[in-house]
């Protein structure tokens, strides 16, 4: 029984489509991918508390997305979280830039917002942002509020 050539081609296309779909699922949809746009520079910052910040969270400057969080680690010596940010190379940050962790919307994801400083010197790859503001944790705020309320 001969299998015609067109059937073989169709089966080949079918299997290939399956592989393309799997490839997309692996690289684009789930978090296996690590080779996104790599044409940026990295700056680090220490935060007391990063809340629910995750890698690949956006970094915005005046609301414009200028990079992503590339790595989050706990630094034992400082007792703080160390966040590495990959900033696209066309955006320059002055050395007194301030980094804060905010939440997008009420239930949204957390992101880092950068506020520009006044200095002329700019941050280079591997530099440190020294002015940081931690994430606001809802329980802490409620806790403070309760203490205020009861101490009155």
């Amino acid at each position: 029984m001969r299998v015609s050539k067109s059937i073989e081609i169709m089966v080949g296309v079918f299997v290939l489509l399956g592989f393309i779909a799997l490839f997309l699922l692996a690289l684009n949809i789930s978090n296996v991918s690590s080779f996104g746009a790599n044409n940026g520079y990295t700056v680090n910052a220490y935060f007391d508390n990063i809340g629910g910040l995750r890698t690949r969270a956006p970094i915005s400057m005046s609301g414009v997305k200028i990079g992503r969080v590339s790595q989050i680690a706990y630094n034992r010596q400082r007792g703080q979280a160390e966040v590495s940010m990959t900033i696209e190379s066309q955006y320059l940050l002055s050395i007194d830039t301030q980094a804060s962790i905010y939440t997008a919307g009420l239930l949204g994801e957390q992101y880092i917002s950068l506020e520009p400083g006044a200095e002329d010197d700019v941050l280079k790859s591997g530099d440190m942002i020294t002015l940081t503001q931690s994430a606001m944790v809802l329980e802490e705020i409620i806790g403070k509020f309760m203490v205020d309320l009861t101490s009155k």
């Binding site: 029984m1 299998v3 059937i7 073989e8 169709m10 089966v11 296309v13 079918f14 299997v15 489509l17 399956g18 393309i20 779909a21 799997l22 997309l24 699922l25 692996a26 684009n28 949809i29 789930s30 978090n31 296996v32 991918s33 995750r54 890698t55 690949r56 969270a57 956006p58 997305k65 992503r68 997008a104 919307g105 009420l106 239930l107 949204g108 994801e109």
Partner: protein, 260 residues
């Protein structure tokens, strides 16, 4: 009178166990044909065409519309909470974990499973299987094994296509039409969807569904009464039993994989 009633119950129970046993023996017999299939892979290619490639169209269109509906409904609900950035997570997780494997398997049992049952049932009714046996060709190894393996291989491939198309069409509606931020759509999706936990488990599900659906389809065909009424009955049973098996198994698998 009451004895008759008891007798019927006993008879039905015994028949059920007999059928189950026959299905298992049948499966073992089918799997013993694997060696022959390795020697003659062309048999598999033909079946992959009729089982897999011909099911492609319905899978692509279903994936397209399921993704679009999911995205639209998800947006309507999430936008009230200002959480429409999570739309990507909602669409991708529901497609990858549940809808992809289950809907593809249900469509597959309707499109390919019923065709397999009818084809094999008709072969039996027209005594093609018996004449093969006369020529000392084992009809189970020659006819059934390639179809079973083709079904088991096709369903995960179709599921992958369904998932990918569903997610991209969800993005089409959510990101392009409804204006959800493209960055948060994809970045939250990539942050929340884990390849090991979500995608791989989805594929394990679809692999198991592939075995069950194709097994039911070929067994019902082979076990059909060799009449036109018997074939039609077997085809109906194949689709109904597959659907029940998929949905019941899905609950068990989900509670094992994603339960607490």
């Amino acid at each position: 009178m009451s004895m008759d009633w008891l007798q019927t119950i006993g008879q039905k129970t015994l028949r059920f166990f007999q059928r189950t046993g026959r299905a298992v023996i049948f499966l073992v017999h089918v799997l013993s044909g694997l060696k022959m299939l390795v020697q003659r892979p062309r048999l598999l290619i033909r079946e992959l065409y009729s089982v897999g490639v011909l099911s492609l169209l319905i899978i692509i269109f279903s994936g397209l519309f399921v993704g679009m509906v999911l995205s639209l409904l998800g947006y309507v609900t999430l936008v009230d909470f200002g959480a429409e950035g999570s739309l990507g997570v909602l669409v991708s997780l529901s497609l990858v974990r549940e809808l992809g494997p289950v809907l593809t398997a249900l469509l597959f049992s309707g499109r390919a499973g019923s065709a397999l049952t009818a084809e094999i049932g008709l072969m039996k009714a027209t005594e093609q299987l018996a004449s093969m046996e006369m020529m000392a060709v084992d009809p189970i190894k020659r006819i059934i094994t390639p179809r079973l393996i083709a079904g088991i291989l096709s369903l995960p491939i179709l599921t992958a296509i369904f998932m990918a198309i569903g997610i991209y069409s969800g993005f089409l509606v959510g990101g392009v039409w409804l204006g959800v931020d493209e960055g948060s759509f994809w970045s939250q999706m990539q942050a929340k969807v884990d390849f090991q936990h979500d995608v791989v488990n989805g594929f394990i599900k679809s692999f198991i569904f592939g075995i069950v659906v194709t097994w039911i389809a070929v067994f019902e065909g082979y076990d059909a009464a060799p009449t036109s009424a018997g074939v039609s009955e077997a085809t109906t049973r194949s689709v109904v039993h597959s659907a029940l098996a998929i949905l019941a198994l899905d609950f068990v698998l989900t509670s094992i994989m994603f339960g607490i």
